[in-house]
């Protein structure tokens, strides 16, 4: 047995397990609180009616977080308080890149907040270079001997972060943890994991960074907010990174429970492309009859004529095939295809789009974040559909204007009527651009 497997973690063992009794450092912690009508899981904090959670012979289990291994009254936790047994090797930060002056400013603010173990929000627009901006703060924390984690609700975000972080902190032990992970857990100073995995930790981290905090399923999941809190040391700091904070986080900001730093400019120093709204009533009906309004066709054709490729978002997977058929009639020479979340060729198609083998892609919300194509335009058919949250819409609009060669781009949303999510997305982009203009003029007056 490796005692450091238990540092800052809670590991489940059988209630009657005595095999580890000769380790005085091990603490035993309870798993379930049994109330009069409900039981409360002490791992995920979920409450379940006794009738649902009951096992035979008067025992109970938590059905809610069962995928992480079943917590029940038949088990107990072993835990060792985090001892911060690290000896950082210098240089801690091996990343050689540079930050733009406005990135630098945000990075300093983040670093300062992490030093004071603040709970802070970094609201950085899509394509601002958030990851690089954390580096200085993380490096300083690691040098102080702190244990740090970066968690994201999305597995693919974790998978993308891991090699970048390992390269940036080449002298540091970095470990990647998620549900489909074949490699076992390892005690490391820097952990990258899904937010679900945080439930396995207990008062482990001096600083915790939650990336893409607004992404499903974190936003709507109080259990994961709980996971964040309990994975942190009592005096630990937490940094939320997002391009599109949802209502919950903004409320925390208004109540001054969360300090906020803005990064309203993209890494190339330009503003976000603004959303143009156009009316498209009955588009779905038309598309099913393999027709599409001339206004839409004209707009799409404009992009292609100007030599720009584009993404066309539709609300549902079921809209993909009819839209493709309708567009085939009008775009006979162009190369395009559809892509959705469970598409087996998703990766290939995305890569081929990147390589310029397609003129455009018709897609469901799956390409809303984390995917970058240089210099594209972005169109959304039925942006007022309820599948598009305001943060999804901001993310979608943020696919445009990512390259320094073409820092702008057309973003057009076709809607059938006024809608709160669209309005909020437009307002968020407007707000960031207002702040962006201010920052630009401040910086130019300094020079």
């Amino acid at each position: 047995m490796n005692l450091n497997d238990y540092y800052g973690r809670r590991l489940l063992v059988g209630r009657d397990d005595t095999s580890r009794d000769h380790f005085p450092a091990l603490q035993v912690l309870p798993t379930i609180e049994v109330g009069p009508a409900m039981i409360r899981c002490l791992r995920c904090n979920h409450q379940t009616p006794k009738t649902v959670a009951a096992l035979p012979r008067g025992e109970y289990y938590c059905p809610h977080c069962i995928n992480l291994g079943r917590v029940s009254t038949l088990t107990k936790f072993y835990h060792v308080p985090e001892p911060n047994q690290f000896s950082p090797v210098k240089p801690v930060l091996t990343w050689q890149g540079t930050l733009s002056p406005f990135q630098q400013r945000a990075a300093e603010a983040v670093k300062e907040g992490m030093k004071r173990h603040c709970h802070q929000l970094l609201w950085a627009v899509t394509g601002a270079g958030k990851t690089e901006m954390m580096f200085a703060g993380i490096a300083a924390a690691l040098e102080r001997g702190e244990r740090v984690a970066i968690a994201s609700p999305r597995v693919d975000v974790c998978g993308e972060l891991y090699p970048r972080l390992q390269a940036a902190f080449a002298n540091c032990q970095v470990v990647l943890l998620h549900g489909h992970q074949p490699t076992p857990y390892r005690y490391a100073q820097l952990t990258i994991c899904t937010t679900h995995q945080l439930l396995r930790f207990y008062r482990a981290f001096d600083n915790l960074i939650i990336d893409e905090v607004d992404a499903f399923p974190y936003a709507a999941n109080p259990a994961l907010l709980f996971a964040t809190r309990q994975a942190l040391k009592k005096d630990g700091g937490c940094l939320y990174l997002t391009a599109t904070p949802g209502e919950t986080l903004l409320r925390e900001v208004r109540r001054h429970r969360l300090t906020v730093n803005y990064l309203p400019l993209r890494y190339h120093g330009e503003l976000l492309p603004t959303i143009k709204l156009r009316l498209a009533i009955n588009w779905r009906k038309q598309v099913k009859r393999q027709r599409i309004s001339q206004g839409i066709i004209r707009q799409l054709r404009t992009s292609l004529l100007q030599g720009h490729r584009f993404l066309l978002f539709v609300p549902h997977v079921a809209d993909l095939a009819p839209a493709e058929k309708a567009l085939r009639k009008n775009f006979t020479a162009e190369k395009f295809t559809t892509v959705h979340a469970t598409d087996p060729d998703r990766m290939t198609k995305v890569q081929q789009m990147r390589d310029g083998q397609y003129d455009f892609l018709i897609t469901s919300t799956i390409l809303e974040r984390g995917v970058t194509f240089a210099g594209i335009d972005v169109y959304v058919l039925g942006a007022d559909d309820e599948v598009f949250s305001s943060s999804a819409l901001v993310q979608i609009a943020g696919r445009a204007g990512r390259s320094p060669q073409r820092p702008t781009g057309n973003v057009v949303f076709w809607i059938a009527g006024n809608c709160r999510n669209v309005r909020q997305a437009v307002a968020q982009i407007r707000l960031m651009n207002r702040k962006g203009r201010k920052l630009k003029s401040e910086l130019s007056s300094l020079q």
Binding site: D16, R57, Y61, S72
Partner: protein, 141 residues
């Protein structure tokens, strides 16, 4: 599908899932039942870890008789063995000495039928004890 179900129910231990097939399996058992409906028991160790017998969970409470005992305290699970090892498994069950089943019809119930070794062992015990007929029902194979 069935594999996923079994994984979640039996190995993750999501006891709620017992209800998924309870009505259907109980109907089948009722149709075939003789004098005794006997679920295959689990070991004391499984009781400690899983906390429930996955077979009785599949049956409506009060419709079965738990007369069979699991003998070994620590038998390795059948599902962890190869087919060959399974077939060589020694008799894992015993019947209480005072149980009189002479001339009775017994229906054995198990969750998964793979090589049939488990049910065969249980059946041979009941036959030796003088049962007139021994049948079996299992949820999956």
């Amino acid at each position: 599908m069935m594999k996923d179900y079994m994984h979640r129910y039996k190995f993750l231990g999501d006891y709620r899932l017992r209800l998924v097939f309870q009505a259907e399996l109980s109907k089948l058992v009722r149709a075939r039942a003789g004098d005794l409906v006997v679920p295959i028991p689990i070991t004391a160790r499984a009781w400690q870890e899983r906390g429930f017998n996955q077979v009785t969970g599949l049956l409506v409470p009060g419709t079965y008789q738990e007369v069979l005992d699991a003998k070994e305290k620590d038998k390795p699970a059948q599902s962890s063995k190869t087919r060959r090892e399974r077939l060589r498994t020694p008799q894992p069950f015993c019947l209480p000495a005072n149980l009189d089943v002479v001339g009775k019809r017994v229906l054995l119930v198990d969750d998964v039928y793979t090589t049939g070794r488990t049910l065969y062992h249980a059946a041979s015990l009941f036959k030796q004890a003088g049962c007139s007929r021994v049948g079996s029902v299992s949820l999956a194979r």
